[in-house]
């Protein structure tokens, strides 16, 4: 900065009124009464992701072609990007501010693209911490259990996963069909978890060949048993040999077993299991139809899944309930009754009411029930306390028994893969707190994303000193300066041609190529996070925002507090505050 020039006598002054120096010495910063500050806030996609992934940062990286680094970032939080990129119900896209503006960013497809690219390059994850002496037992190798094991291993603990089935993966392996989630994708990601040094024991069922006393050598336990017991219809004939639960069917098929089908296959239910059962049956040669007791609006299955099923020619009948299954003259029959919608249920959906006298008969070869699943919690100790078919837990995922945590479908939370993953990570964090005697209340504020989001392992792993006081404000569309954004059509992934969707289990969703992915990631608004668009630098009338090592830095000696930078920031990554005096 230049100095003030002192001209004490007339002789010091030049004969011509010319300048001798610059105005830089003049600290116009003293004029201000408001001051700007760079203030990264929370992107709504990050807050909306139950697995706590830094989606916004990943979009930036993919948009620059740095796909593998984006994958690294996702793997800090979630070991299953390839799985999620195929089966997640993407609440991130519903939270995306772009959805209100034109169309949401195809985050889900980009997650899949990242994972596929990493797989192609053989990219692996690095370990985080030095080994600790404690061991943790994880009951169940579904998404919750494996995620918990992954994070505990990265924290340095010895993790052992006990699995009742002969294969790892839980519902991912035996509940979701191949055409939605190819086994080789799942197995590749499970392998990366095992590479962390996680031990596994398959064919080990808690309550049978694994008892409570066997777990005494473990410093903590994570229960992630999952919901594998199909709910009963409660109608006569449902235990017959031509009636099976959808989950049992899908499990058998995924383990390579044969199931007699016939042609006329009827699936009762409206959730993803029902849809998966129908589409699997179709591929095996049957002509399935789905019966659902309410209407399409109330169907709990993901809309995309329903749509794909209909594309594949699967028939769905609404407002139909089963009455009884029986044999008549050697023909398997299913008696049904039509419904109408009455007043709403406890869960807000309108309850189906039988229309008296509307019964009709269907001739069937096989009936599948898929009206929901419950957990088998009979082997758990009474102390845990079961409520509503679920284990009660606090916000850490801790049960009433000290040292025992729970997650996944067996606790009170939405039954989705991504919620399971989130609960597995959460348990890992608080098992670490439990074992290291850390104050867990502080941890929540430091690692929660926004005010209502999930937890970030990356933040948890930072030095406590670095648990920076970041803004917890989530940026909404009205916070953005839309002058800088133009509507642009969303890129959607392609699907396999219909020929590949009949009779084969080839993956239906194909994804998209790199240029498309990069272009789509560039549609991300980067809500709340500076991406060096340089608007603040360009528009400053006082040259008070300068470049230092590529970053923008505010020169508070000269900033007059006009506020143009904050106003013109497209993504609300700055804030104007009162000047403290």
């Amino acid at each position: 900065m230049s100095d003030q020039i002192l001209l004490n006598t007339e002789k010091d002054i030049p004969y011509q009124p010319i300048s001798l120096g610059s105005m830089e010495w003049n600290k116009t910063g003293t004029w201000r009464y408001l001051r700007p500050r760079f203030d990264n806030k929370v992107s709504p996609c990050n807050e909306g992701c139950p697995a706590g992934q830094d989606i916004e940062a990943a979009m930036v990286l993919i948009g620059k072609g740095r796909v593998l680094e984006a994958w690294d970032l996702f793997k800090e939080e979630n070991p299953f990007p390839g799985v999620c990129g195929r089966v997640c119900y993407h609440p991130c896209e519903s939270s995306c501010n772009r959805a209100e503006f034109d169309e949401a960013v195809s985050i889900n497809a980009l997650e899949r693209f990242m994972a596929d690219t990493a797989f192609k390059h053989g990219r692996r994850v690095g370990l985080k911490r030095e080994k600790k002496k404690e061991k943790v037992a994880i009951i169940g190798s579904g998404p919750a259990g494996l995620t918990c094991a992954y994070h505990l291993a990265r924290l340095g603990y010895g993790a052992t996963v006990f699995e009742a089935l002969p294969v790892l993966g839980g519902m991912l392996r035996v509940g979701i069909p191949e055409y939605r989630l190819p086994k080789k994708v799942l197995e590749a990601e499970i392998d990366q978890i095992l590479e962390m040094g996680v031990n596994t024991e398959i064919n080990t069922r808690f309550g049978e060949n694994l008892l409570q006393k066997d777990l005494k050598e473990y410093a903590a336990v994570f229960l992630a048993l999952g919901n594998h017991v199909s709910k009963r219809l409660g109608i006569p004939g449902e235990d017959g040999d031509w009636a099976m639960s959808g989950v049992e069917f899908l499990r058998k098929i995924s383990l390579g077993k044969e199931v007699p089908l016939g042609k006329r296959v009827v699936i009762i239910g409206g959730g993803n299991t029902a849809i998966d059962t129908a589409r699997t049956a179709q591929r095996l040669g049957a002509k399935p139809s789905i019966l659902y007791r309410r209407t399409r609006e109330e169907m709990p299955a993901f809309p995309a899944e329903i749509h794909e099923a209909e594309e594949e020619g699967i028939d769905i009948s609404f407002l139909v309930s089963p009455v009884r299954l029986f044999l008549e003259d050697g023909v398997k029959k299913l008696e049904c009754v039509k419904n109408r919608l009455g007043p709403p249920d406890e869960d807000g959906r309108r309850r189906p009411v039988e229309v008296k006298g509307s019964n009709f008969l269907l001739e069937v070869d096989q009936v599948f029930t898929a009206i929901g699943e419950d957990a088998d919690l009979t082997a758990l100790p009474k102390k845990i306390g079961i409520e509503n078919h679920a284990i009660p837990t606090d916000e850490r995922g801790a049960t009433k028994q000290e040292g025992v945590f729970a997650g996944g479908d067996i606790i009170q939370q939405p039954h989705t893969v991504v919620h399971a993953i989130g609960s597995g990570k959460r348990a890992a964090i608080f098992i670490d707190c439990f074992l290291q005697n850390k104050k867990w209340e502080r941890v929540f504020d430091a690692v929660r994303i926004g005010e209502r989001g999930s937890l970030s392992m990356r933040r948890y792993l930072l030095d406590e000193k670095e648990w920076e006081t970041k803004s917890t404000k989530t940026v909404r569309l009205q916070d953005l300066n839309l002058d800088y954004f133009e509507p642009k059509k969303r890129k959607r992934p392609t699907k396999a041609p219909m020929a590949k969707r009949q009779g084969t289990f080839e993956e239906v969703n194909i994804g998209f190529p790199e240029e498309t992915a990069v272009a789509e990631a560039q549609r991300c608004f980067n809500c709340g996070v500076c991406n060096l668009c340089d608007n603040c630098y360009i528009f400053c009338p006082d040259v008070a925002i300068r470049k230092e090592n590529g970053n923008n830095v505010i020169d508070y000696d000269h900033c007059k507090g006009c506020g143009i930078c904050v106003e013109e920031c497209p993504r609300d990554a700055m804030i104007m505050e009162e000047e403290g005096r």
Partner: protein, 384 residues
């Protein structure tokens, strides 16, 4: 080499010999042929200057200010209305300390509208910080233009070379054209200390608040006062090299004079003839030619008139409410002198009214007649 040329062309040739680099002017009678001749000299290639034909005199001065600040030798010319229009920029030029040379052909200022000779126009600008030199002959005009550049570039103040409308500007006289190379040695290339240059970026003509403005004016005043010595020095050098010196003032037959006339400009020639005739008749009359008017060469003037009994100042100018301007300048210069002659003020020849031998004689007669000067200027040559 001798040439017959009108006063305006003498200006042009003086400018050409001085190798001015940027010229900007707007036509006004009786200045027009200065610029016309300069256009011919440029077109012939005898003068390598850029000529900017601006759309007003105000722009003409702004233009040469810009060019001078860029570090080149500049020239403009104007008269009466044009000079008045330039007034704002005359201040700007001198305050910026730019060595601009301008020829002003003395003409009256309307209204009423009049195109003939009078000295009020240049004298009305006497506060603007420009040096003013009044010429008596076309030769003097050419020589003074060359001297003016040298003076201006030394003292860093602009210089106005003044000549009478029509009597000099449009009247042909023999003029000795000095050799260009020798002029080049007398007046080398202009090298300013500061100039507009991206290699040394500065702001010129800065905004100067109260805590600096006075110092700049003080410096200008000092330069103005010191310029008197410079004018003398340059005139002396010119005289040595070219054989023609004019001095800051000229005393003509003032030895033992009891009445001294004071004139400036072409009227001096008429006065010389009158003085000769009067001396023939035994009158002890002398003539003081005032050449340098700004800064007022008080000491040199006093030297000449100190022992006279009366001084009669012939003014072809009028400051309304005050009177003849040279007379009042002289009165003001003399006011604290212990020994000073009474100063009689006469106004004549306004608006181009002819000033003849008769006019001078009348003035001499009136001066002898009156025992003391009137406070107000006396008007000579009026109707009825």
């Amino acid at each position: 080499m001798k040439k017959i040329m009108v006063g305006n062309h003498a200006v042009s040739w003086g400018v050409m010999l001085s190798r001015a680099e940027v010229i900007s002017a707007y036509p006004i009678t009786p200045q027009t042929s200065i610029v016309e001749e300069l256009s011919v000299l440029c077109a012939d290639g005898r003068l390598k200057a850029k000529f900017i034909p601006v759309e007003s005199e105000h722009s003409a001065m702004a233009c040469v200010i810009g060019a001078s600040a860029a570090g080149v030798r500049t020239f403009t010319a104007t008269s009466s209305q044009g000079l008045a229009l330039m007034h704002e920029m005359l201040h700007w030029a001198s305050g910026s300390r730019l060595p601009i040379v301008m020829a002003n052909v003395n003409r009256s200022l309307g209204s009423p509208f009049n195109i003939w000779g009078e000295q009020s126009d240049s004298l009305a600008q006497r506060d603007t910080g420009w040096l003013q030199i009044y010429c008596e002959s076309n030769q003097e005009v050419l020589d003074t233009v060359i001297q003016a550049f040298k003076i201006a570039e030394k003292v860093l103040l602009p210089v106005m070379v003044v000549l009478d409308a029509f009597v000099l500007s449009h009247t042909a006289e023999p003029v000795d054209i000095p050799d260009g190379n020798i002029v080049g040695q007398f007046l080398p290339a202009y090298k300013p200390q500061f100039r507009i240059d991206p290699q040394d970026p500065r702001t010129f003509a800065c905004f100067a608040p109260p805590d600096f403005f006075m110092e700049f004016r003080y410096k200008m005043q000092k330069a103005m006062l010191e310029s008197q010595a410079v004018c003398k020095e340059v005139d002396g050098q010119f005289g040595e090299i070219f054989g023609r010196g004019y001095g800051l003032v000229e005393a003509y037959r003032c030895e033992g004079a009891d009445l001294i006339l004071m004139t400036a400009g072409a009227i001096t020639s008429t006065a010389r003839v009158a003085v000769d005739a009067l001396r023939e008749k035994g009158r002890k009359v002398g003539l003081l030619k005032l050449r340098l008017f700004r800064p007022f060469p008080k000491d040199e003037v006093l030297e000449v008139i100190r022992h006279a009994e009366k001084v009669a100042v012939v003014d072809r100018s009028l400051s309304l409410g005050l009177g003849g301007i040279f007379a009042h300048e002289l009165r003001a210069a003399m006011c604290n002198e212990p020994v000073r002659p009474p100063i009689y003020s006469y106004i004549t020849g306004l608006g181009g009214r002819d000033t003849t031998l008769q006019t001078i004689n009348e003035i001499v007669y009136q001066t002898y007649e009156r025992s003391e000067p009137d406070e107000q200027s006396i008007w000579i040559g009026m109707r009825g």
